[in-house]
């Protein structure tokens, strides 16, 4: 049975409703208002985890976001298993189930703790020093070992079933932190009429007020003033209050990211609620009231469970009604610890001694401690602690005899309070790119020069004490409202009575911290000695020391350790702290979930899906789809029992022998219109357009200005001033952007209008010797006889009453048409054509067959044969380039020597010696079968298919000097060995083009 450390009364917990919870298979009881940490401490549990490197027993150090030790996993079910949560921030609910981490088999007995006894083999830079040699050992031994030992928690094994919301918001004044300074700021700004958002990471607003025992504000107890103030703010329609909301990142232009947790604290969350909500707040002005973090002291054994930050024990006592022990030794360099000692003493905790590291302890708080009969010992240090899983003793010694450990006097205790003063939380200020300034008196960095529209208030800028924080917050709120345009703003003033905050807290590293395990970074297990060793090994910049020792690199980003690390490095190098530098504060302030960042962008909402008007028909006819960019395209239409290979072979034969029907609606389409349309086309495309008559088409090629192929597609001239341009499926946006770029920025004098019509037209390709016969009876007002409508022509008319732009074009090498109809009629016209084609054996085919057919003809696919470094000549398209045009985009680049150098890769065909061997696309091509690596390949395979028509495999390839290698036998890499293949023309089928007119 666990002990009960709960006080008889007080605190903000609801004692009328006990809550049951589990930690590591044991059941405990707590109350609403508890955190997991306070509930465990109330049950006398300090040991909550094992450390990362040495697996040392670790307890609860703090009461907030700065907690480095008490990382736990909370499990609702396997899909909702969340590792690495700070127990100090986990709100208790009925049935909560949590477990400790980094231990095996149990917290009390952990086999990894052997690392602790071997610790002299784990110095700073251990990883860099040890795992260098031999290389083979990496895979077999080092890496598995590091992975097993170094993991911090484990990830859930099931997908996250919860929903995460996302919201954009604007406000005049965003106040981060709802402690006294933040509340005062929000009041001032709200009363001036500003739209205010006030957020705080905790469940309750109040910050330090939640642990206030005796202060009064405006004549009321602090708790009463807090309740009234929050109620007052909640009534204001222009104020948004966000508890359980962490401001985790400060971005450019006063954009602050807030992570709101909506259901984490509930025993049975409403499934309709999102679990978390991301707020992207654009604020005119920001007030940072983030408070301060107490600094641990660095002394041997400072990581033993039961060694705690002094002010945290006050919080546990006053807010949660929990005594953290029954007999405490206090070690401090700051008056604040006296306040903790006094309050614990009043609650019945014995104070064995207050060791003050300062030579004199004379302020009002030390005097009050003396008056209460507490044993105050100035000029005294702590030389170590005793105990295994919990502190049982602390040794004190006069500072004068610090080198003489025999002078140490062990005091029995179950609690050690330490305080090295307070570090302002400048994380968000620093993220806003503001410049920090070192304050020698506080021995801390404080906000210096602001870069964005923000100001800090209260403890986060070194203004300590309740009265001062209220006044500072009110002034900041007023200034922020005024800067946001609310000129009537005035600062509220608050009559306040509170015990003084006191002073002190510069010396955090105790003189005997070396040569024994005195921890600086608890979470990453970095000791004072590690830091000194790093400086001896030549690491003098804090950025280097940080990376070498890993100090400050854990999930807490060194909230409790950074200033102490700076102090040690400064001492070791004999340089003042500002000269050591400061590591960068990065977002997030505390870890945020992947879920909240992904928001609704998962599964089917991850990326938009584009479908064609014929998509549902294809689905109904059993199409197998493939993703092409955001498009879903029918890849093949398997008949019952067919695999892809057999389906594609059948579809290919159908197109070559009778007729196929293909959905080409995804083709990019741009209408280029205007008096200067032809001039514009001449400048954008390599082709000459002036002499292309209306009603004719041409294969168009676009280069980038550097001379490399950007895109291609058939262009029809509908009229003198109107072109119907097609692009590749993936290139539509890029081509339109390039056209707009030149039109808007280089040639604004041209009268041309560009309109994307990709989704306005459905495109139905009807290809094969029977295609004309299929369409003949359907078209109205167009003579599709060969003489009237030759290959590469376009005509406007109707098909079954629907207006159409009918192209006679072929991407298959067969007689073919592409029927363009308004998208809304696409499905209907497709079905009419399919019906009319039945007597001819019309066969729907997909992209795979389209690819095989075009490869048989040696037609390139931009992005498959080309890779952004291919010129028109490289892929055999010199014929397309208008020879007499003075200029077009990319022309000058084609004349550069490198673009005409011999030995460039050229498009060729490849036929394997074994006609059934299918090469792999991307495979490298070698001159000889037994070339030793490393070797420079001659080129690579770009396309490779089984051709049913040719009864063998075919491939296209880009090969250096390829056109001069016709008939050569080269070797293509495979997983086993290079296989021989002969270089051929890239046109495998009907090189004369006779089939374009075969009917």
């Amino acid at each position: 049975m666990s002990a009960n450390f709960r006080t008889a009364e007080d605190g903000r917990i609801d004692r009328s409703r006990p809550l049951g919870f589990r930690f590591d298979e044991r059941s405990y009881q707590g109350f609403p208002g508890d955190t997991l940490a306070s509930a465990l401490l109330a049950n006398g549990v300090h040991l909550v985890g094992r450390s990362f490197k040495y697996h040392r027993p670790r307890g609860i150090l703090s009461a907030g976001a700065d907690e480095p030790n008490a990382l736990v996993a909370v499990r609702r079910d396997e899909a909702r298993y969340t590792p690495n949560l700070r127990a100090t921030q986990v709100e208790l609910y009925q049935g909560l189930s949590a477990e400790s981490q980094n231990r095996s088999p149990s917290l009390a007995f952990d086999i990894g703790a052997v690392n602790d006894r071997l610790s002299r083999f784990f110095p700073a830079g251990f990883y860099y020093k040890t795992f260098m040699w031999p290389r083979k050992a990496w895979e077999r031994w080092y890496e598995p070992w590091i992975r097993a030992m170094a993991g911090l928690g484990r990830a859930p094994t099931l997908p996250d079933p919860d929903r995460y919301a996302n919201r954009f918001a604007h406000c005049d004044v965003l106040v981060v932190g709802a402690g006294p300074a933040g509340l005062a700021a929000a009041l001032s700004a709200a009363e001036a009429g500003a739209r205010v958002i006030l957020c705080d990471e905790q469940a309750e607003f109040g910050g330090s007020l939640l642990a206030e025992s005796d202060a009064t504000i405006e004549g009321k107890p602090a708790a009463t003033w807090l309740a009234e103030t929050v109620a007052l703010l909640a009534l204001k329609p222009r104020v948004t209050l966000l508890p359980r909301t962490t401001a985790f990142g400060y971005f450019a232009y006063n954009m602050v990211g807030l992570a709101e947790r909506l259901t984490e604290h509930l025993a049975e969350p409403d499934p309709a609620l999102p679990r978390e909500r991301l707020w992207q707040v654009r604020a005119r002005e920001v007030v940072l009231a983030a408070g301060a973090i107490e600094r641990p002291l660095v002394f041997p054994g400072n990581d033993r469970p039961g060694v705690m930050l002094a002010d945290a024990t006050r919080t546990y006592l006053n807010r949660y009604g929990v005594k953290c022990g029954s007999r405490a030794v206090v070690v401090t360099a700051h008056d604040a610890a006296y306040r903790a000692a006094l309050e614990l003493h009043r609650a019945g905790v014995a104070i064995a001694a207050i060791a003050d590291l300062r030579t004199a302890a004379n302020g009002p708080l030390p005097e009050a401690a003396r008056a209460a009969g507490l044993p105050v010992r100035p000029a005294t240090t702590i030389t170590g602690t005793g105990g295994r899983l919990r502190v049982t003793a602390a040794s004190l010694a006069p500072l004068a005899a610090e080198s003489d450990r025999r002078g140490a006097e062990p005091l029995t205790c179950d609690l050690v309070l330490m305080s090295g003063g307070f570090t302002p939380s400048v994380h968000l200020f620093s993220q806003s790119r503001g410049k920090l300034r070192f304050d020698g008196e506080l021995a801390a960095y404080v906000p210096g020069h602001s870069v964005q529209q923000e100001r800090s208030a209260g403890a986060c800028r070194g203004v300590f004490g309740l009265a001062a924080a209220l006044a500072d917050g009110a002034a900041a709120g007023e200034a922020a409202a005024r800067a946001a345009g609310f000129s009537a703003a005035r600062a509220r003033s608050f009559a306040c009575h509170a015990s003084g905050f006191g002073t002190g807290g510069i010396r955090s590293v105790l003189p005997n911290a070396h040569g024994a395990k005195a921890f600086v970074d608890f979470q990453n297990d970095v000791t004072a000695d590690d830091l000194v060793l790093a400086t001896r090994e030549g690491f003098h910049s804090i950025e280097h020391v940080k990376r070498y020792t890993t100090t400050g690199m854990a999930t807490d980003q060194g909230k409790t350790s950074n200033m102490n690390a700076l102090g040690i490095v400064s001492e070791a190098l004999g340089k003042p702290i500002p000269e050591i530098g400061l590591t960068t504060f990065r977002m997030p302030y505390t870890p945020v979930s992947f879920g909240i960042l992904a928001g609704p962008s998962r599964d089917e909402l991850f990326d938009p899906v584009r479908t064609t008007p014929i998509h549902d028909w294809a689905t109904a006819h059993g199409a197998v789809f493939e993703d092409v960019g955001q498009w879903k395209r029918a890849r093949y239409f398997p008949a019952p029992g067919e695999d892809m290979e057999r389906a594609v072979a059948r579809e290919c034969r159908a197109v070559r022998q009778s007729t196929g029907i293909f959905d080409a609606s995804t083709l990019g389409k741009i209408e280029v219109v205007g008096p200067d349309a032809v001039e514009f086309m001449n400048r954008i495309y390599v082709n000459a357009w002036s002499r292309l008559g209306a009603g004719r088409c041409r294969y168009g090629l676009v280069l980038r200005e550097d001379g490399f192929i950007a895109d291609d597609g058939v262009v029809g001239r509908l009229a003198e001033n109107r072109f119907h341009v097609t692009t590749t499926t993936g290139g539509a946006t890029r081509v339109l952007a390039q056209m707009e770029d030149y039109l808007q920025t280089e040639w604004p004098e041209l009268e041309v209008w560009l309109t994307s019509v990709t989704e306005q037209w459905a495109v139905i390709a009807v290809q094969g010797p029977r295609s004309r016969a299929v369409l003949e009876g359907l078209v109205e007002g167009i003579d599709i006889a060969s003489r009237a409508m030759p290959h590469m022509s376009v005509a406007e008319g109707r098909i079954r009453g629907v207006p159409t732009r009918l192209f006679r074009v072929s991407y298959t090498g067969e007689l073919g048409f592409e029927v363009n109809v308004p998208a809304d009629y696409g499905r209907a016209v497709w079905e009419e054509i399919f019906e009319a084609g039945q007597p001819h054996g019309i066969t729907p085919y997909g992209t795979e067959t389209m690819h095989v057919l075009r490869a048989e003809k040696g037609y390139i696919v931009v992005g498959q044969e080309t890779d952004g470094t291919a010129t028109p000549d490289d892929v055999g398209l010199t014929w397309a380039v208008g020879k007499t045009k003075p200029d077009f985009v990319g022309k000058r680049s084609l004349a550069r020597p490198a673009m005409r150098a011999p030995g460039r890769k050229q498009l060729v065909g490849l036929l394997t010696e074994d006609p059934h061997f299918l090469l792999e696309e991307g495979a490298q091509i070698l001159a000889a079968p037994n070339q030793k690596a490393p070797t420079k390949p001659l080129g690579h395979v770009t396309s490779s298919y089984r051709s049913a028509t040719l009864g063998r495999t075919i491939a296209l390839a880009m090969i250096a000097g390829g056109r001069d290698r016709m008939g050569e036998m080269l070797y293509v890499t495979t997983a086993e060995r290079p296989v021989p293949a002969k270089v051929t023309s890239p046109v495998f089928y009907d090189p004369e083009g006779a089939r374009l007119d075969a009917a």
């Binding site: 971005f251 450019a252 232009y253 954009m255 992207q280 654009r282 790119r433 870069v451 200005e705 550097d706 952007a737 707009e740 770029d741 808007q744 920025t745 280089e746 604004p748 003075p886 200029d887 022309k891 000058r892 680049s893 004349a895 550069r896 020597p897």
Partner: protein
């Protein structure tokens, strides 16, 4: 996330825009008259300053227009935006 003032639409969030590289690089009227080195310079050489940079942006998901901006590459703050064809503003 940056806030960018489109000269046609006003202040809009960064996600509506795409970046277009350095501004005021005028395509030569007669590229054929340029030597290889001069043409390579036009194609590839960029000023890449630490400080004020004149650059092109396009309000892709808005009015779709290109415009120019002066941005301080050190602070990542926009100092001015202006229409294509307008003079680079004098910040002094």
């Amino acid at each position: 996330m940056l806030l960018i003032v489109c000269p046609y639409c006003g202040e809009r969030p960064e996600i509506e825009f795409s970046y277009g590289g350095e501004a005021h690089l005028v395509r030569p009227k007669d590229p054929a008259s340029l030597g290889d080195a001069e043409w390579a310079d036009y194609l590839y050489a960029r000023s890449n300053p630490k400080g004020v940079h004149a650059e092109r942006w396009r309000h892709t998901h808005g009015c779709a227009r290109f415009f120019n901006a002066l941005r301080d590459t050190l602070s990542d703050r926009f100092l001015a935006t202006y229409r294509i064809g307008e003079q680079r503003p004098d910040l002094a």
